[in-house]
């Protein structure tokens, strides 16, 4: 296992921003700058979340209403477009904008729910591995290595193929598959914290292992967990969309960004907008989440090794 930990160390060092040389810059100023970006991203994200939550009141049309006469209508700003369908319509005349507003619900629900699940599993296993060490550590870290070797996409595909596609199955699959990254970081941090004086003092005072782990160690890990979880929401959203894109996720006619993109692919020869806009929605959402996660990291702990 030792060789692996050395290799991880190299990776962590590489991903960390090196310390600025003296007089080269003013780090505080840059931090505020990045924080501002994070706040702006959070604002955009808030708009996306709000429009998903209030979709029935915001969406101009019923997302499932078929209107064959207006099928494949072009977006409003193009020649022949109407303001009634701002982003145009799809192959059976459903309003693209309304479907996109509703489609956000799926991605956000799956993203948040799966991340809650995977962070719970990952944090518990990481604490176990880091705190108890030895055999527990070896077993859990072998599990982590197996999972990290396996392409996440392939694993999700195989499980969905067996369980059948549904919203709940997708949350379970993405939730269960995503734990290793938390376990890895939590393990490393726990191993470091375990050796600190206050833990030793707790042991000397006769605190139980459970109390030490949850009262002394976990509070020191929250920033790291929050940052990883935020960034993971974006990853989960991309994967969920890919599964739906392949037809193995949310089933039509329920709108999801992924399955809209998948349906639109068939029509990309003439109607580029059906595939373009849902993908743009995924892109913007994940970008905003990433920006917010990066800012969160700088704000909570600029020295965090993530």
């Amino acid at each position: 296992m030792k060789a692996v930990s050395a290799e991880r160390k190299v990776e962590l060092v590489a991903l960390r921003e090196p310390a600025p040389a003296a007089g080269e810059e003013r780090p505080a100023l840059r931090r505020i700058g990045r924080l501002r970006w994070g706040l702006a991203a959070g604002g955009v994200l808030l708009v996306i979340v709000a429009s998903a939550v209030f979709a029935p009141w915001i969406a101009p049309h019923d997302p499932l209403a078929v209107n064959i006469r207006h099928r494949l209508a072009v977006p409003a700003w193009m020649e022949g477009g109407t303001a009634a369908h701002f982003l145009g319509t799809d192959q059976v005349g459903r309003d693209l904008l309304s479907r996109m507003i509703f489609g956000g619900r799926v991605s956000l629900v799956v993203g948040v729910a799966a991340v809650l699940l995977s962070s719970s599993i990952g944090v518990l296993l990481g604490l176990g591995a880091g705190y108890f060490g030895r055999r527990t550590d070896w077993t859990i870290m072998t599990g982590v290595n197996v999972m990290l070797t396996f392409p996440f996409v392939l694993l999700a595909l195989a499980v969905i193929a067996v369980l059948g596609p549904s919203l709940v199955n997708m949350i379970i699959v993405l939730g269960v598959a995503g734990w290793p990254i938390y376990a890895r970081v939590v393990r490393a941090e726990t191993m470091a914290i375990r050796e600190r004086e206050f833990v030793l003092a707790g042991r000397a005072l006769g605190m139980s292992h459970l109390r030490i782990v949850f009262r002394q160690i976990v509070p020191n890990l929250t920033s790291a967990i929050v940052v990883i979880a935020t960034l993971q929401v974006a990853q989960v959203i991309i994967l969920e969309s890919f599964l739906s894109f392949l037809g193995l996720g949310i089933q039509p006619p329920t709108p999801a960004w992924g399955n809209m993109l998948g349906e639109g692919r068939v029509y990309m020869l003439n109607s580029w907008w059906i595939a373009t806009f849902p993908g743009l929605a995924i892109f913007v959402t994940t970008l905003m989440i990433n920006l917010m996660g990066n800012a969160l990291r700088d704000w909570l702990d600029p020295h965090m090794k993530l």
Binding site: A14, F242, L246, G279, T286, N290
Partner: protein
């Protein structure tokens, strides 16, 4: 060095065993192949007969042992769909996947190396900011959407390149660019931070003091040392790269292992899925091992565990 390699080999075996177990559990424990194979109105005896025929009525550990002992000699059973050995089906599709992965890696390096070095040398200039912005955006763009956008622009609009297929070098351009663009951001950031870290070190000052020309300092002294974390992480990322190749293949109808896997999942052809998953994992594990050894050869600190 020898003990280092043998330690890694043991780990390799453990990880491969873990993956085979994972694939077995997913396909045999979570799902019932017979239920998928027979029509729904088949009688109970029919089900039992088929279970017996496929050996599914035996204890799970016996089934796993049989599966494992077959897998070692490349016998993954016959495809339930095409009546040919699963192994042969998968092996036939392996070369396109490997070519695509390598081409993607090449594109990623062609983008990431010059930009990463440039960003590191002109740190905090507009070039650096631009590179970082593009990298952040690139990390958020879903691969399958990027692929479709590339098809819409270069195949449908400009009619410059084929939208899908395999054969000539022209077929390689869009898929490998798509895959490379997905891997480039993280590689670029690694190169950048690696070069920055190294440029602050004593031996760089020594080289400069000796009067070595600046381009020489960058290429011979800084870049070579910055390569270590880059190679390590690229090795670790290989699974992700292959995962990206899976997504890229499905978008561009590339005749590789991934399209075969997705087809097989749709057909519920479990032997092929199992075989594909395990062989892909094997490729990843072997590449990881090779990378570990290469890094250990370059950097003696790792193999001695210092």
């Amino acid at each position: 060095m020898r003990s280092y390699i043998s330690r890694q080999l043991v780990q390799l075996v453990v990880v491969v065993l873990g993956i085979s177990l994972l694939a077995f559990v997913i396909l045999h424990v979570l799902g019932d192949p017979v239920l998928l194979l027979l029509p729904q109105n088949a009688g109970k005896e029919e089900f039992e007969r088929y279970r017996h025929l496929l050996g599914l009525d035996r204890p799970l550990y016996v089934q796993y042992w049989k599966f494992l002992s077959g897998a070692v000699i490349g016998d993954f059973g016959k495809s339930w769909y095409a009546d040919t050995p699963a192994f042969r089906l998968v092996i036939e599709r392996m070369p396109p996947t490997i070519y695509l992965t390598l081409a993607g890696l090449l594109v990623a390096l062609l983008i990431a190396l010059p930009l990463g070095i440039l960003a590191a040398l002109k740190r905090h200039s507009w070039v650096d900011s631009l590179c970082t912005a593009v990298a952040v955006a690139g990390q958020a763009a879903p691969l399958f959407w990027l692929g479709i956008m590339l098809i819409i622009v270069f195949a449908v609009r400009l009619r410059m390149l084929p939208a899908s297929g395999y054969g000539t070098w022209r077929h390689f351009l869009l898929p490998s660019f798509c895959l490379g663009a997905a891997l480039a951001p993280i590689t670029m950031r690694l190169v950048r931070s690696g070069v920055i870290e190294v440029m602050n070190m004593e031996f760089i000052k020594t080289a400069r003091a000796k009067g070595v020309a600046e381009p020489m300092v960058v290429v011979k002294h800084a870049f070579r040392n910055a390569c270590i974390p880059v190679i390590t992480v690229l090795g670790l990322q290989f699974g992700q790269l292959l995962g990206g190749a899976i997504i890229t293949e499905t978008v561009f109808a590339w005749p590789g292992v991934a399209t075969l896997t997705v087809e097989s999942i749709r057909n519920q052809d479990f032997p092929v899925v199992q075989c594909a998953v395990i062989l892909l994992a094997l490729v990843i594990v072997v590449v990881n091992l090779a990378v570990d050894i290469v890094v250990a050869v370059i950097d003696p600190r790792i193999r001695t565990g210092a």
